[in-house]
Symmetry: C2
Subunit: 195 residues, 2 copies
Amino acid sequence: MPAGRPRAFSKDDVLDRALEVFWRKGYEGAALSDLTAAMGINRPSLYAAFGDKQSLFRAVLQRYVEGPGSFVGRALAEPSVQAAVARLLREAADELTAPGRPPGCLAIHGALACSDAGAAAQADLAAQRRASEAAIRARLERARDEGDLAPEVDPVALATFIATVFQGMAVQAASGSSRDTLRGVAEMALAGLRL
Amino acid sequence: MPAGRPRAFSKDDVLDRALEVFWRKGYEGAALSDLTAAMGINRPSLYAAFGDKQSLFRAVLQRYVEGPGSFVGRALAEPSVQAAVARLLREAADELTAPGRPPGCLAIHGALACSDAGAAAQADLAAQRRASEAAIRARLERARDEGDLAPEVDPVALATFIATVFQGMAVQAASGSSRDTLRGVAEMALAGLRL
DNA sequence: CTAAATCTGTACCGTTCGGTATAGATGCAG
DNA sequence: CTGCATCTATACCGAACGGTACAGATTTAG
């Protein structure tokens, strides 16, 4: 334990509070006063613990990926590629509309369009979306190597399609679409894929 | 012609300039100084001609729908529903990545997540998205009535699916995806629909 | 040519933004 | 108990925000 007065809050706890604010209002829409109010700490404590707003957002994004966004990795770990993709899209409908959380996906609507001040956050989220799409692609390529995917299927194009449907579902969720509506979208996409 | 000094600019011209700014930065990311600089007019002129920022955004949105967004209506006017949907998604790939314009769709990323000050713009865009989806649904229902659509197809669910794919494509475009990539998404969606 | 009406430009309003200096409180090491 | 390191809290900073008052310029109506 380092010398000096110990921190009076848990970093993870206040990060979760900050996540809720960024999730609901986006990077630029979340003011520092919103953040400190929700986190229950003062401004200098925030800066001492996390650095500036941009660094806080990075930390929040990482926590988002490892927390609410972790279902993606679990879905892709399904043994068959058919089950993996189906679980991914079906659980997306649940996760994007989970009660008690903001609707939609932080990585998608957290900073889609913003001023120059938000360009870094915008780039962070775009990179995260690319990473998720790359994870889907890697899973499809593995399936192709294992003979679990028809050889005429293009893993790159299919991964982009799946990611695109997911992103559209996130927009729908942010607009208030219900879980059942998103489930319907997922089923229609899966029916078309007929993996 | 009304008495008094005439306006020194064309409302439509400066609306197009404002559209570019809102499209690129979103409602909240577009500062009044950005807008007046791009429009080439002073702040009081803006307020006299359009009212406050929110009213300007409404006017810009309407011009967007009637201008860059008008391809949706034209695509849906195709005689066969198969051609209508195919043209809608294929032209979306072109329009969302058209050179010389901001990538993506104002109605989708213009105000997805924002502070309380942007709630009205957020609601306007959500309503616009619902209207577009309703237009697709109406076209599908017409096709069903005309026998142009298999009776087991649910127009509501299919319209939601098409709108969702479109919204996902807009997110991809805003992240820098190319026209060809979006074309691939459109083709994969159409192949799955096999209308 | 005068009067009324409208637009333009400057300069400013109060508020909120992200970020920080500084002082007091609270802990550990010796 | 003393010294020091770290955290908390108040109060503040300059800059940018959306919005407007006011004076001068420019037009039509009479």
